[in-house]
Amino acid sequence: MEFFLLLVSSGLVAGATYGLIAIGFALIYKSTGVVNFAQGELVMLTAYIGFSLSNSFGLSFLPLLLLTIPVSMAVGLLLERIFIRPMLGEPVFAIVMVTVGLAVILRGLTIIIWGSQPANFDAGIPVTVVRLGSVPFYPAQLILIAALAVVVLAAWLFLRFTRYGMAMRAVAINETAALLAGISVSRIHALAWVLSSGIAAVAGVLFAANFKLAPDLWFQGLKSFPAVILGGMDSIVGAALGGIVIGLIESLAQGYIGEGMREIAGFVVIVLVLMVRPYGLFGSRNIERV
């Protein structure tokens, strides 16, 4: 039982990271129809930006996060302007491949700028162990899980009640109709990238604070794909839940099936899920007309 609870707790922590990254994926997919293969690299880049900010200003956790998020948003806007905006109107495949190219570029640049050695990222979070029941947690782990809840709630409120949120949903449903209704679709696309980079910053800083900061952090982006697929690509809540589920499955598979399962359990799950339900568990099914 003790072992099981430990696995569940570590699964929750990993799952919260996946959830946060998956929400970033879902936001961009929802409003632009593009799977952003560079999301993991955005997370890595923003984590390193947070690292540099923390080193130069020596901030404590909350101010650091509040500073990293806007900086990351600006970076996201810049990337969207340079790489994605000129592709407006091109086939989706081309835009997706641009994000793949962007991913490789960001990966290389990050290593050239910050070096390939892993770094310890002290985000100013205390390291005293907190016990919930019999399960020990680090404060950073609890903050990560809480951050997922806050981001989901904020995203939901934003999409449900604000003017821009509604515009974003309108663009997601029908781009042409949204254009006709006077919504600036290109601005909504930019907004999706900005918000997604902000969420990537939360994920990046918290992941680095929990585990370590290394140039292989981008791989978390690929490892979050199962969560996005499970959530159905275009659902924020689905992405968060998918993340948690995948995190739990990976952790339990590692504990009970065998060494190394953590790396691939998620991928095995999505292959199985996609064979049964090709649109994910919570995704909306597209009916094709000829």
Binding site: M87, V96, V98, G101, V104, G108, L109, I111, L274, E288
Partner: protein, 348 residues
């Protein structure tokens, strides 16, 4: 401009080329390739063999992605299967190389059928992600199936001799690679002339319409996976012969991206484009090395320190720039040039 040029029979429509000029150039190119080993150094020959492996991989991926429209991010996984099948059969079981090469292709084709099954229900990005997942699963399986694959220790590939020639170095390797590459290109070219190739293109353009015309999607999609992966497996086997030592790290995700970059760069769906793109991109690292040798001072270690990063960035820039400025790729540029000169001086 070519005038008085009309096709009078179905045979002419599907001929590989009805232009004597094209055949002449192809023949000249073939002779040049046959004589190449006498003209370049050993290092140059190694580069050319790597380019051949890239050409095989790109042409094979082009069958799957360019012609059938099934996007695969799992090429590194297929390449790994081919390389490992060849290495295991050759080194551990001591089978002769003329048997292990086709066996490696067949093994890869069989594995690809397992990957192909989800493709029957998935489209576009979902399929891309599934193939990506499969390449991770394959790498993982190789890493943990230690009795068969030697796991993290990797395999030394040895014993590839034919008629007393060592096929793993120098000229014999070059001619083997040349032969396999020509076979791949000819197979791909001829595939497009058959019912199968036309069915693939129909599926790419509109799969529902293709089905309505009586094309069996299950059969042709799986066939695309199998045929394409057979040649990727051959490429992998060739790669294992050239490298002489393989482990899982050789087959990273970057290989899949490289392969996609090659066919995008060359022009999606075109076999000549795939060849051009593969040659261009596999010689790009060498060009980068020369470039950095020219511009930076000789004591700078910037390039040697970050060789993989610089290469990665170059791939990324190539992908982004071509998609944005030349979506038709190198082959599109070639067509534009040809049209300009054949219409000159009337071209605008």
């Amino acid at each position: 401009m070519r005038t008085g040029h009309m096709k009078l029979s179905p045979g002419q429509l599907i001929a590989l080329s009805d232009s004597r000029v094209v055949w002449g150039w192809a023949l000249a190119g073939g002779v040049a390739l046959l004589l190449l080993p006498f003209a370049v150094s050993n290092y140059g020959l190694t580069l050319v063999v790597s380019a051949f492996v890239a050409v095989m991989g790109a042409v094979a991926l082009n069958m799957l992605t360019g012609q059938t429209g099934l996007i695969s991010l799992g090429q590194s996984g297929f390449l790994a299967v081919g390389a490992y099948a060849n290495a295991i059969l050759l080194s551990d079981y001591g089978l002769p190389v003329w048997l292990t090469l086709p066996a490696a292709g067949l093994a890869t084709a069989l594995v690809s059928l397992v990957v192909g099954v989800p493709s029957l229900r998935l489209k576009g990005l979902y399929l891309a992600i599934t193939t990506l997942a499969f390449s991770f699963i394959i790498n993982h399986a190789i890493l943990y199936a230690e009795p068969l694959t030697h796991g993290p220790n990797g395999i030394f590939v040895k014993g590839a001799t034919l008629f007393g020639l060592d096929l793993q170095r120098g000229m014999p390797l070059y001619y083997l690679a040349l032969g396999l590459t020509l076979v791949t290109i000819l197979a791909a070219l001829n595939m497009t002339r058959t019912r199968i190739g036309r069915a693939w293109i129909a599926i790419r353009d509109h799969d529902i319409a293709a089905r309505a015309m009586g094309i069996d999607l299950v059969r042709f999609k799986l066939l695309a996976f199998a045929v394409s992966s057979f040649f990727v497996g051959l490429a992998g086997a060739l790669l294992s012969l050239q490298l002489r030592f393989i482990n899982v790290d050789v087959f990273g995700l970057i290989l899949s991206i490289e392969a996609l970059a090659m066919i995008i760069l060359g022009g999606l769906g075109s076999i000549a484009g795939a060849v051009l793109g593969a040659v261009f991109l596999s010689l790009l690292p060498e060009a980068l090395r020369l470039f950095f040798g020219l511009v930076s001072d000789p004591n700078s270690t910037f390039y040697t320190n970050y060789v993989f990063e610089i290469r990665g960035i170059a791939y990324g820039v190539v992908i982004v720039a071509f998609l944005r400025f030349k979506p038709d790729g190198l082959i599109g540029m070639w067509r534009d040039i040809r049209k300009y000169w054949s219409n000159w001086p009337l071209a605008y």
